[in-house]
């Protein structure tokens, strides 16, 4: 028995020593499009853009999800295609600073019958070594081939209280800061109207740091 335990302990030690270093420590100083782990958000008031740092979540390159971008330490931090290093509350304040107009029309009660309103947002994703900056419709696939139509929903109170970490949702949402006008709440989870997942043909491997840029669109 002692020999068995000792053998297993030695093997465990061997593998713990062999483990690759934590990617967050090795990439501490890596900058992607001006954002890094030490400065995960960049606000450009002049161009009305916000860039945040995130990591690709390989799980959702094949699995269905209604979360595009979520702060990694939020309650739903393990559920998005992109795990952000920037929290949702500071992000929302930055959106207001650059002049974003929030819709604030979503509630839990009206979610299934209401489309999110608010200023239109363009979202682009890039990473070190990427051939270009990709539109959200290129990196996240919609099974109905509908275009993702992002709006600045706002939802400041819910975002703070519920602390889900949601920054960008893929259907209209009463918690996420930005969500998709193309579907009402429940389209993914309850009614199965659509399947969303990251585009594995374009996105880099799991854990790769990406820069996500949000830009206000004036119509």
């Amino acid at each position: 028995m002692k020999k068995t335990l000792a053998f297993l302990a030695i093997v465990a030690l061997f593998f713990s020593a062999c483990q690759k270093k934590d990617t967050t420590s090795t990439t501490q100083n890596v900058s992607v499009n001006g954002v890094s782990l030490s400065a995960p958000m960049k606000v450009d008031k002049e161009n009305k853009t916000i860039t945040i740092l995130a990591a690709v979540n390989g799980k959702y390159l094949t699995e269905n999800t209604r979360h595009a971008v979520v702060f990694k330490d939020g309650k739903f931090g393990d559920k998005p295609v992109f795990r952000a290093f920037q929290n949702q509350n500071d992000f929302l304040q930055a959106m207001l600073e650059i002049g974003g107009v929030a819709g604030n029309n979503m509630t839990k009660a009206n979610g299934e019958t209401t489309y999110v309103e608010g200023q239109k947002i363009a979202l682009r994703v890039t990473w070190n070594g990427a051939p270009k900056s990709y539109d959200i419709n290129e990196v996240i696939s919609d099974s109905n081939n509908k275009l993702i139509d992002l709006r600045f929903g706002g939802n400041e109170k819910n975002a703070k209280e519920l602390n889900t970490g949601c920054i960008t949702c893929l259907d209209s949402c009463s918690v996420g800061i930005i969500s998709n006008h193309a579907y009402t709440y429940g389209a993914v989870e309850k009614r199965g109207e659509v399947i969303f997942h990251g585009n594995a043909a374009i996105l880099p491997k799991d854990g790769t740091l990406v820069a996500i840029t949000y830009k206000l669109i004036n119509e």
């Binding site: 335990l5 593998f15 209604r66 799991d206």
Partner: protein
């Protein structure tokens, strides 16, 4: 020492059970979006440890059944990689999926080798008879 071994063994059995549960949960997006994998792992590993208090030997049959169930569900659902993402979400953030895969499969292989060794007649203390 025997209790420590049994605790570790049944905790690992709990881990196999949790992976199977997580794989089944992944077939329903409503559940998948609400149930955190780490919670399932915590509950199942905890149950495994508690179960070990009532056992005097490591059940070879239980281990083989749980292992087979996990792989069968994986193959049926074609979701092999979800095993490793489940494990990563159990407080292993920052460790690459390939490392998790190597460590997990190594442990699984070692336990299987120990069981084969045991079943071939080199009776290891701590393991039950295969019955």
């Amino acid at each position: 020492m025997n209790k420590l071994f049994l605790g570790l063994f049944y905790a690992f059995c709990g881990l196999l059970l949790a992976i199977s549960v997580n794989l089944i949960i992944s077939t329903n997006v409503w559940l998948e979006m609400r149930i955190h994998e780490r919670l399932v792992l915590e509950v199942c590993i905890g149950l495994g440890i508690v179960f070990s208090f009532f056992r005097n030997s490591a059940s070879v049959a239980l281990f083989l059944v749980l292992q087979s169930t996990m792989f069968l569900i994986c193959f049926w659902l074609s979701k092999m990689d979800l095993i490793y993402y489940s494990l990563r979400n159990f407080y292993l953030d920052g460790i690459s999926i390939s490392t998790i895969k190597i460590v997990f499969l190594t442990f699984l292989t070692l336990i299987n080798l120990l069981i084969v060794y045991h079943l071939l007649g080199k009776k290891l203390t701590g393991f039950s008879k295969f019955s």
